[in-house]
């Protein structure tokens, strides 16, 4: 189906179902209950899940397949964002041209950076990409302020009047898709549950599905095989008369374009760009997302992106007040003790929790979250084996 093997097709279908039902799946707890704090089914976070999912999928095309570890991928995300917001400021508030511009500019920038950086391999390559990204960040923050807005970044303003949009005098433009406001939502109320079906999220989710589909095709194509060959043994490739450079450069540009797409989508969902999007920690984050999820797997990077963004947005919002309401049922002394014990890990301590999760995952699940999934699948698989021998590893991704 769609040119995919059976396993890949079921994986794509699984992702399709998960993304379409995300507003429900991510909101498992009723409003007003203590656990509602853990609900992630609100537009902003869901959008971030899919956007960083795209970013990580693209990164994985480079890192997972070729083994080239880019430490400056956030620069492409940033360039894509800047291109997209300028498109919206000057030409059209429609998100599609904005995203296209994001992809094009990020692709061009990736072509330049990749052409230079890929002359080296291993850690030398990593440092070259890091250097380009840090230069982009530093310049965007300071001397390029007229173009990038510097520290305060760029937002849509009432003075912006894109030529293809009919804005009233003084009206601030809104990102839209042929007139559909990205911020429009349908509220679905079922009993104590409240689900928000957001226009922007579904646009982003649709884009991610396409991106995911293309990634599967790349992984399975002869081109993908070639990239894996680069990873396993470049010398042998050279000896067989194949020049690996064009392949790796293509992979680099494709993954840069994915990053640009993610950057363009970020602007489409929330019309704002700031230079810290390109700081090395942002580049590091996508590396961590990919490793955390599972390098070289199709779904892993998306899972890794989800976990990191979830912790950043959910754990950081828990404060001692909320802890006290949770444990109010305990006797006073015990309540205070429990709160004191948990407190360092939530709110302003969310970094600590993040660090611990990184360590635990990499120590106990060497293949990342995907390996965790596989282990669980295997557990069930064993049980089911007696009935159906082939059902195991339904979600088993590539490699």
């Amino acid at each position: 189906m769609l040119g995919l093997g059976k396993k890949d097709f079921s994986l794509l279908m699984l992702v399709l179902v998960l993304t379409m039902l995300a507003p429900f799946i991510l909101n498992p707890f009723p409003e007003g209950s203590g656990m509602a704090q853990f609900n992630a089914g609100y537009p902003d976070l869901m959008q971030r899940f899919v956007i960083f999912g795209i970013f990580a999928i693209g990164f994985n095309i480079l890192f997972g397949l070729t083994g080239y570890l880019s430490f400056g991928h956030a620069a492409f995300l940033g360039v894509g964002s800047y291109a997209a917001i300028w498109m919206m400021k000057l030409v059209s508030l429609n998100v599609i041209p904005a995203m296209i511009m994001g992809v094009i500019f990020a692709g061009l920038f990736a072509l330049v950076v990749g052409f230079i950086s890929l002359r080296r391999s291993g850690i030398y390559f990593s440092i070259l990409t890091l250097a380009f990204a840090q230069m982009s960040y530093a310049l965007a923050y300071s001397v390029l302020t007229p173009i990038t807005g510097g520290e305060t970044g760029l937002q849509l303003k009432s003075t912006d009047n894109p030529i293809l949009s009919n804005l009233a005098e003084g009206e601030i433009g809104r990102a839209s898709l042929f007139g559909l406001d990205m911020r429009a939502s349908i509220e679905l109320e079922m009993g104590n549950w409240l689900f928000t079906l957001n226009m922007g999220y579904y646009v982003a989710a649709f884009v991610m599905l396409i991106a995911f589909y293309i990634a599967i095709r790349i992984f399975r194509s002869p081109f993908g095989v070639m990239l894996r060959a680069v990873k396993s043994n470049q010398n042998r490739m050279n000896y067989t008369g194949l020049n690996p450079r064009p392949y790796t450069l293509a992979a680099f540009v494709i993954s840069g374009m994915y990053a640009g797409l993610a950057g363009g989508l970020m602007v489409a969902m929330d019309t704002q760009v700031g230079p810290e999007r390109m700081f090395w920690t942002a580049s590091g984050e996508v590396v961590l997302m990919t490793i955390l999820g599972g390098v070289g797997t199709l779904i892993g990077p998306v899972l890794g992106a989800g976990l990191i963004k979830y912790m950043e947005n959910i754990i950081s919002k828990i404060n001692s007040d909320i802890l006290h309401t949770w444990f109010a049922f305990l006797p006073d002394g015990l309540e205070d003790l429990v709160v004191t014990l948990i407190y360092p890990f939530i709110g302003k301590g969310w970094h600590l929790t993040l660090g611990i999760v990184f360590m635990l995952v990499v120590i106990f699940l060497p293949g990342g979250l995907v390996e965790g999934g596989q282990r669980i699948a295997r557990l069930f698989g064993k049980r089911r084996k007696s009935e159906d021998g082939s059902s195991a590893g339904k979600t088993t991704p590539a490699e």
């Binding site: 391999s121 440092i127 490793i291 600590l352 660090g355 360590m359 990499v362």
Partner: protein
């Protein structure tokens, strides 16, 4: 001319910090083959050893002074260090002001314990794992370490001044016959530079002239063969890791008076030290040191007003620009060996 001498001096000083951290990183890369993202955290822990010792020395008990009031109008509780009770006010103040140099002794055992615990407890299990896993686990560790420090010491910088005798600056220009005030240089920075040179020389001598060092160097070149010879290379690698941790820690201790330590100083230095290590060439100790000083000096030159006027923003990017140029002209950095971390 004087401006150039001045910036070379500044660069040497900045370079010392880069070189010390890069030296430790390279030791770990070279011997253990591990990408240690927690190395900046070791530098930070060193600086906080100085902070801790300063706090320990000024451990106080409260004495209520009825004649003065605090900000709420209550009688002021004056903190009196125990040292003051034992030694008298002047001696106590003098001892406390020496907490940074004293912290050198204080930090060595701590850094050795931290280093050994890290290597035996965590890093050891990652020798055979892909570099990606090493990055993830050491990055996680770095976050945990800095958050623990933040939990106890807060996020703001904590002043840790140098001893009275080393505060202030001297007129280097006047010494070499220039007008006064042309080249001013703080004493402590001179101390830092000298200290860095001693440590660097010490590490090199140790590797060069001891049997232990010889085995480690052999291990760096070919781990398997050394293992086949029946030498327990693992134990030596643990010691090497502890030494690298010590170097980073001592660099941190001595750096504390230059910039007040804060919990994220390790991360601030981390990326730059990686650049330094790679520019120097993977696995090359002299390369790391040379690159540290080179980049330090270039960074200083780029921050001169005359240079910024010609090339706005050059001070923002100089290190990265130089790194790119060097890596493009010399494939393995200044002195890198073939095949190390090139996959």
């Amino acid at each position: 001319m004087d401006a150039i001498i001045l910036q070379i001096l500044n660069g040497l000083d900045k370079g010392s910090a880069y070189a010390l951290i890069a030296l430790g990183l390279t030791l770990i890369f070279g011997t253990l083959g591990v990408v240690n993202f927690a190395h900046g955290a070791l530098f930070m822990i060193g600086a906080f050893c100085a902070v801790t010792l300063q706090r320990l020395l000024s451990l106080s008990h409260e004495v209520v002074d009825e004649t003065r009031t605090d900000f709420l109008g209550n009688p002021l509780k004056v903190e009196v260090p125990y040292l003051q009770d034992w030694l008298g006010a002047e001696t106590a103040a003098a001892v406390i002001s020496w907490s940074v140099p004293l912290a050198i002794l204080f930090s060595i055992p701590i850094m050795i314990v931290v280093g050994v615990a890290m290597e035996r407890g965590l890093i050891k299990h990652f020798y055979k794992r892909p570099h990606a896993d090493q990055i993830l686990v050491t990055f996680g560790l770095a976050i945990v370490l800095q958050e623990v420090i933040k939990y106890y010491f807060g996020a703001n910088p904590i002043p840790t001044p140098a001893p009275e005798a080393f505060t202030g600056s001297f007129d280097f220009g006047a010494l070499i016959g220039m007008d006064p005030y042309t080249i001013i240089y703080p004493y402590w920075r001179l101390v830092y530079f000298a200290f860095a040179m001693i440590i660097i020389a010490g590490v090199f001598a140790f590797l060069q002239f001891t049997t232990f060092g010889m085995v480690v160097r052999a291990g760096m070149a070919d781990r398997e063969t050394v293992g086949l010879l029946g030498i327990n290379i693992d134990k030596r690698f643990t010691i090497m890791f502890a030494i690298a941790a010590c170097v980073a820690g001592l660099a941190g201790v001595m750096y504390a008076p230059i910039n007040a330590p804060n919990y994220h100083m390790g991360m601030d230095f981390l990326v730059l030290s990686f650049v330094v290590v790679v520019v120097g060439g993977m696995g090359s100790l002299p390369g790391a040191v040379a690159a540290g000083f080179l980049l330090g000096i270039l960074e200083s030159f780029a921050s001169m007003a005359a240079v910024i006027d010609i090339l706005p923003g050059i001070n923002q990017i100089i290190i990265y620009l130089v790194a790119i140029i060097i890596l493009l002209t010399r494939p393995r950095g200044l002195m890198g060996r073939k095949g190390v971390m090139e996959e």
